[in-house]
């Protein structure tokens, strides 16, 4: 992401809340819009929800248009370099350069059929600028205020860590939930290691709604990521495995929850995820 994009964020509207202290007369202004029941159950969390009204952003290789398992894609943009070499977010008609973004979109659609999907393509601007492209796309997604952003990708470049960390925290406070794939190799990569995101690894079961909370992070949740049929290029499907596919399962479940409880903050949503995880009390 360019410095200009960082500045853009820094000049956003000032929050009207007392940020560092709470005068007595201001208590009313921080009324919590949703309180969790004594026992959070899956029925309370997402019973009856189809994800309607929730905008989900897929930060990936693009999404194939009109794929039967993905359906309507509301908006497709790409992060590309202009003639001066500056990264720009532009309307995209390229579809998917790999198949992976389509696969992630299909997983979200299968769980939460009525979500609005946006594709942010961060592949195709050359490998060399891959990290910058990813950061630029993420910054754009946060600026747009998507309640859920699926990031089945990571970077190992430490030079991006500080900016990525800042973006992840910014997202957390702006109610943009970043759902990020954990690495299943013994390497340091980001942003999944940050506490402000929902990090996802794979379990070996076959039910899409089975997910586990991990009390010994950095990976906080495990979703379905093994041997599953996902949407792929040409309107077809492929059988795939990877944390990349566990991630949109959790993103889809988050979209279901937000469809029913749109005012949940990322902190509350993570608590609801924990309480409804298959190894916690709220699961059936």
């Amino acid at each position: 992401m360019s410095d200009a994009a960082i500045e853009l964020h820094e000049h956003e509207e000032e929050e009207d809340l007392p940020a560092w202290s709470l005068p007595a007369e201001a208590v009313d202004r921080i009324r919590v819009p949703v309180t969790l029941p004594d026992q959070v159950t899956r029925e309370w969390a997402w019973g009856g929800s189809t994800g309607a009204g929730v905008r989900v952003c897929i930060l990936d290789s693009g999404i194939e248009l009109d794929h039967p398992l993905v359906g309507h894609v509301d908006h497709s943009v790409a992060v590309l370099r202009d003639e001066e070499g500056e990264l720009q977010v532009v309307e995209d008609g390229e579809g998917d350069l790999c198949g992976h973004g389509t696969a992630c979109a299909g997983v979200v659609r299968a769980l939460a059929p009525d979500v609005e999907l946006t594709s942010v393509r961060v592949l195709g601007a050359g490998y060399k600028g891959g990290g910058e492209t990813m950061l630029h796309g993420l910054a754009w997604a946060i600026e747009q205020g998507f309640p859920v952003v699926n990031m089945s990708l990571s970077t190992t470049r430490t030079k991006y860590v500080e900016r990525l960390h800042e973006l992840a925290d910014r997202a957390y406070f702006k109610r943009v939930l970043l759902v990020a794939s954990a690495h299943n190799m013994p390497v340091e990569s980001f942003p999944w290691r940050f506490a402000s995101v929902i990090s996802v690894g794979s379990h070996e079961e076959t039910d899409g709604l089975t997910f586990y909370y991990n009390p010994t992070p950095p990976v906080e949740f495990f979703g379905r990521g093994l041997d599953l049929d996902v949407a792929w290029l040409g309107g077809g499907t492929l059988r795939c495995t990877g944390n990349s596919f566990a991630t949109p399962h959790i993103a889809g479940i988050c979209a279901l929850i937000l469809g029913k409880h749109p005012d949940l903050t990322p902190f509350q949503l993570k608590s609801v995820l924990y309480q409804t995880a298959s190894n916690a009390k709220g699961a059936p």
Partner: protein
């Protein structure tokens, strides 16, 4: 790492061949472990922004080395850019992909395990294992094994690249080429004298710094 250190690390100029053999052994073992029809390593050419076939075992062995394609498209490109491993089965169902694959390599695999080759924070390339036995359902254990294997391949690839950098530095127009030429021209007894001179220079530089 400086060119000179790389040259020292490489040991001798012929190390390139030894490292290539190491990389070849790595893909052969990867293929054997997974009972696969083929395994390959792609090296990222950052200058050209392309992935290059660097070692192949099984189908395509001997024909694919040196073949290139864009580093940010396709499954290998996705794995490289996003640093995430990916296992895909039923690949032949993807007609667009299999057609382009057939045109470029002459071989269309049914399944593919791809994993990035990472050394510290750099992505050097991609390891692919093609066509495991069809009855073998993927297990998490396999992905872990693939990750461990990728580490080994990444180290081999890193050594190969260092050896190449060392060779480039010592050959032709490389920065250290004059040193190599002088060393090459010297007779054996002159070489000892030249080394003593270099050692004296080293001591002098150490004292002045």
């Amino acid at each position: 790492m400086s060119d000179l250190e790389a040259a020292v690390a490489a040991g001798v100029l012929g190390a390139d061949e030894a490292h290539r053999a190491l990389l070849q052994a790595t893909v052969e073992v990867a293929r054997a472990i997974f009972g696969a029809k083929a395994a390959s390593v792609f090296l990222l050419d950052e200058e050209a922004d392309e992935l290059v076939f660097e070692a192949v075992s099984g189908e395509g062995e001997g024909e694919l080395i040196g073949m290139r394609f864009p580093a940010d498209t396709g499954i290998a490109g996705w794995v490289l850019t996003t640093r995430q491993p990916l296992i895909v089965d039923d690949l032949s169902a993807d007609t667009r992909w299999s057609r382009s694959q057939a045109e470029s390599t002459g071989y269309v695999p049914k399944s593919m395990m791809s994993v990035p080759l990472l050394v510290e924070e750099r992505a050097l390339g991609v390891l692919q294992v093609l066509d495991r036995p069809p009855e073998s359902r993927v297990k998490l254990r396999e992905i872990d094994l693939l990750g461990l294997f990728a580490n080994q391949a990444a180290i081999a690839l890193d050594l190969l690249q260092r050896a190449r950098r060392a060779r480039a530095a010592l050959a032709g127009e490389g920065r250290l080429a004059p040193l190599a030429r002088v060393a090459g021209r010297l007779e054996e007894d002159e070489r000892d004298t030249a080394l003593e001179l270099l050692q004296a220079l080293d001591r002098l530089l150490a004292e002045t710094s």
